[in-house]
Amino acid sequence: MEALLNILKELHPEVDFETCDTLIDDKILDSFDIISIITSVNTEYDVAIPAEEIIPENFNSAEALYDLIERLQDED
């Protein structure tokens, strides 16, 4: 989880990712951020997030994103 928080902090040092659960709804993340996050997650956790998982629900909070990463790791 810490590595993920670092990835997010690098993009948005002004956001509290441990509590924020409206990253998409409140337009905090934009399309550039999504691309960067997916690329960094791929490098850091060695999981490729498939297109059908790139949906608002999975990116609204760091926790949701972390759950997704764990789920994808288990599937491997």
């Binding site: 040092p13 934009d30 297109a51 949906i55």
Partner: protein, 507 residues
């Protein structure tokens, strides 16, 4: 008689297909007869209140009614200035200082935001404007006195001194552009456009005016979908969208995340792209997914009214090649000039300079900046002739196609937006406690990287920048330095900063 006013497109199309959907989003749509009626009502409303030959700001959320407001402003003999509702207050106020507008058209949300500005003029709501009847006689009189060189819009673009520049374009340039673009891309009344680009740039001319000319349909795609590739393609299919003119980053979002494995666009047959280099690996994924579609690369600065060059992709490209920008549209000439203002040697690099009707009128209330780039054609000393110097360097390849090389200055393209790194630096330097600042651009990862010296945390810096700059200009990463590296002349050593950055990245 030759067309001299963009509204003639609407006046020919509305009686022909009155009940066809013209502009729509996922919730609602307006037919051509509704567009015609509302635009004329808005034009009459503005005229009744004395607005004529002046800028009228359109400050609305992206919506079909925003498009109709543009046309309404043109009916009144004024010119529209679209403003992004997400733009920070500071930047909007800079634009207002330049324009000194007397009227703003708002919706229910933005009218509350305008109250926060230093603005003394009138605020009009779309609904109140369209509730008044059209004054046919007055509109006819305005039309009789209109010329094709009269302005129809001003759009603002990044300025290196920290102040955005307002590019003024006229009827004749837009008609010339739309007619020639439509020829190349083969638009017709069956064209169903999926608009991606914001309405506050000239990029949206392609869909808006082509729809008006042919009686096609434009869907404004919700911005949010450009983060979610599968949903985006599903949207294209749901509305049977067959034509898109998008920035490259919107297209690669779909291909890079393998959305085509899940769902393919079923109706899409024309894909125009531009503003950035299309990585060939991504481009090939698109071509493989849509082997029968037409792909066209477009190039052009706002100052040249939309786009001025095109290349229809007609061959395979190796991974290390770039797709050419091709050739100018009919009735536009590209001059490639070297540093001595002479034509570049065959195959040699030169600055792209635009000659023709597509050259816009200049920057609004900004004679200095206008004189710098809208200049007398150096190849013509016989009579006045203005060309626009783009600052883009290009060369011809062995096939005679124009190929983009680089910028002469620190202007960059980031997610399809044109940004002067200098404008970001000016804003950073304005903050208390900042001693020095420099931005570089990572061309590969497409990241804006900010370096600064001063007692400000990165988190505070981002918060501050968000108040001053549009979202797309906020640096994607930043680093606080002890001291700024300098050149022997005492200027910031950008080359060294970039070298250090690249070295660090490789590790």
């Amino acid at each position: 008689m030759q067309q001299t006013n963009v509204l003639e497109y609407l006046e020919r199309t509305a009686p022909r297909v009155p009940d066809k959907l013209a502009y729509a989003n996922e919730n609602m749509g307006l037919t051509f007869s509704e567009v015609y009626r509302d635009a004329r009502a808005i034009g009459s409303f503005l005229s009744r209140r004395g607005h004529y030959r002046e800028p009228v700001v359109v400050f609305m959320q992206k919506h079909p009614k925003m498009v109709v407001s543009f046309y309404g402003v043109i009916y009144s003999g004024c010119y529209y200035v679209p403003i992004d509702e997400e733009m920070p207050k500071h930047r909007i106020e800079l634009i207002f200082q330049n324009l000194n507008p007397k009227a703003i058209i708002c919706d229910d949300v933005t009218k509350e935001m305008v109250k926060e500005f230093h603005y003394q003029g009138e605020i009009y709501l779309y609904e109140e404007m369209t509730a008044e009847p059209a004054d046919d006689e007055k509109l006819a009189e305005i039309r009789r006195n209109a010329l094709d060189v009269d302005p129809i819009y001003i759009v603002f673009t990044s300025g290196s001194t920290g102040v955005p520049k307002g590019v003024v374009a006229c009827h004749r340039s837009v008609i010339d552009y739309i007619d020639n673009l439509a020829d190349v891309l083969e638009f017709d009344e069956n064209s169903i456009f999926g608009n991606q680009t914001p309405l506050y740039f000239d990029a949206c001319l392609k869909e808006l005016y082509s729809t008006m000319k042919f009686g096609g349909t434009t869907y404004l795609i919700p911005k949010n979908l450009f983060m979610f590739p599968v949903k985006l393609v599903e949207f294209l299919n749901e509305y049977k969208i067959n034509t898109v003119c998008w920035v490259v980053s919107a297209l690669t979002m779909i291909s890079a995340f393998k959305a085509f494995d899940k769902v393919k666009p079923q109706y899409l047959h024309t894909i125009a792209f531009g503003s950035e280099v299309f990585p060939i690996k991504q481009f090939n994924i698109w071509r493989e997914a849509l082997p029968d579609a037409k792909f066209v690369n477009l190039y052009g600065p706002t100052e040249g009214t939309g786009m001025c060059c095109y290349y229809k992709v007609d061959r395979e490209f190796a991974l290390d090649e770039t797709i050419p920008i091709g050739q100018p549209f009919h009735n536009t000439e590209i001059l490639l000039l070297d540093e001595n203002n002479k034509p570049a040697k065959p195959g040699g690099p030169g600055e792209i300079c635009i000659r023709g009707t597509s050259v816009t009128l200049g920057y609004y209330h900004n004679p200095e900046k206008t004189r710098e780039s809208f200049v007398q054609n150096p190849l013509n000393d016989a009579y006045p002739e203005i060309i626009y110097r783009t600052g883009d360097l290009a060369k011809y390849n062995e096939r005679g196609e124009l190929c983009f090389l680089s910028r002469k200055d620190y202007q960059i393209k980031h997610m399809g937006h044109r940004i002067e790194l200098g404008e970001i630096e000016v804003v950073v330097n304005m903050k208390d406690g900042i001693k020095s600042a420099c931005c570089i651009f990572d061309d590969d990862k497409k990241k804006i990287v900010l370096y600064y010296v001063g007692e400000v945390s990165p988190a505070d810096m981002v918060r501050y920048l968000k108040e001053k700059l549009p979202r797309y200009m906020i640096p994607n990463s930043m680093e606080v330095l002890e001291t700024m590296p300098l050149t022997p002349n005492g200027k910031i050593n950008r080359v060294l900063l970039k070298q250090n950055y690249m070295n660090k990245k490789e590790k």
